[in-house]
Symmetry: C2
Subunit: 214 residues, 2 copies
């Protein structure tokens, strides 16, 4: 398998964790999001993924896009260890936690959105940082409330093995720390992220450990 990736992309980071948890070897093809006006917007990459976003995964002849769709595909084609364990309600909970991050936080703080804020709306660096922190802090507060309420949270977001929810959580916590967001209100989130980071699958997927890390 070939993963089109950028070391700091949250969405690529998620897929790297999933591949590692499944023990699947892959070739990393770096796509630099800032160099040359964004390599993800160049014709050869757009032919693979018309959305012009990373990651994309090549498996056999097929090209898959969208990190959560890719991870569900990996889970269907390589069921062990399961990333969506439990019954239908359990899986709904795991997916809801994943989407509370992948839909409600991450897209609003994506590079192209931050670029639009400065280029089109004249936002200052300070305003962009406030924007970034606002959505992370509000979004992770919702995740914290979901986790703290639930009898099914364990060592990880859902029980005692890592799932799709943890796969989304860790890159988002990494971003929160990178942008010095307030995290005093999310002890459960931090406790779970730490438990994940003790696992090699998560550590090896971290931005600093990528071939294209800067």
């Amino acid at each position: 398998m070939k993963l089109y990736t950028y070391f700091r992309s949250s969405a690529a980071y998620r897929v790297r964790i999933a591949l590692n948890l499944k023990g699947l070897p892959y070739e990393a093809v770096p796509v630099h999001l800032l160099r040359n006006g964004g390599e993800q917007r160049q014709a050869d990459y757009l032919a693979l993924n018309p959305a012009g976003l990373v990651p994309a995964l090549e498996d056999g002849g097929a090209v898959l896009t969208q990190s959560l769709a890719i991870i569900e595909y990996l889970d269907e084609t390589h069921p062990q260890p399961p990333l969506l364990p439990g019954d239908a309600l359990g899986r709904a909970r795991i997916r809801a936690l994943a989407q509370a991050i992948a839909c409600d936080i991450h897209p609003i703080n994506n590079l192209r959105v931050l670029q639009y804020l400065s280029r089109e709306l004249g936002a200052s660096e300070e305003q962009k940082t406030a924007w970034y922190r606002h959505w992370v802090e509000e979004g992770l507060a919702a995740v914290e409330a979901m986790l703290a309420q639930a009898p099914r949270s364990g060592r990880f977001c859902f029980g005692d093995t890592p799932t799709l929810a943890d796969i989304c959580l860790v890159p988002q916590v990494f971003n929160a720390q990178r942008f010095k967001c307030n995290t005093a209100h999310i002890p459960t989130v931090l406790r779970i992220a730490e438990a994940c980071e003790a696992l090699e699958a998560f550590r090896l997927a971290a931005p600093a450990n990528q071939p294209d890390a800067e």
Copy 2:
């Protein structure tokens, strides 16, 4: 089942379509996103869904959140007709199309984001409209490219029966038309949305046909 919904919410609209396609009756509980400072931010609703977003679905004693997680749950618990048909690659394609809308377009144009633009960044109505159109037009162009390339697009996004992808497409096209976005570049998207709107399950789920429509 009880659906906490707002007539104009895209995410609630998706779940309404799914419930109709499955033939599942439900009680609609309106949550007004603009009245009283946003009913979704009041304590009784936050106790159900700490994220303060619609929709939420009550089924038996359980409360489910996040529209895509809810729809996958409905599909697992009521398999007919399947909303994620096909093999693993097919499902990955359906989910990728759904997420190209639910992650890459919709969250950036959500009410709370538009409110932040005006309240915190002083964006004018004109700037907010330009913002809205930008993400819809760019995002649906990517969806168009995905659909136009693929041998598996049929009458609907994936073959000839409606799937999770169509469920996400129709509310997004509704928004595009409501905000008078440019749609000249997305003929396949429009053709499929029209095919969907010929079905009663989609029509009955439309904002204008909700009990809380204004």
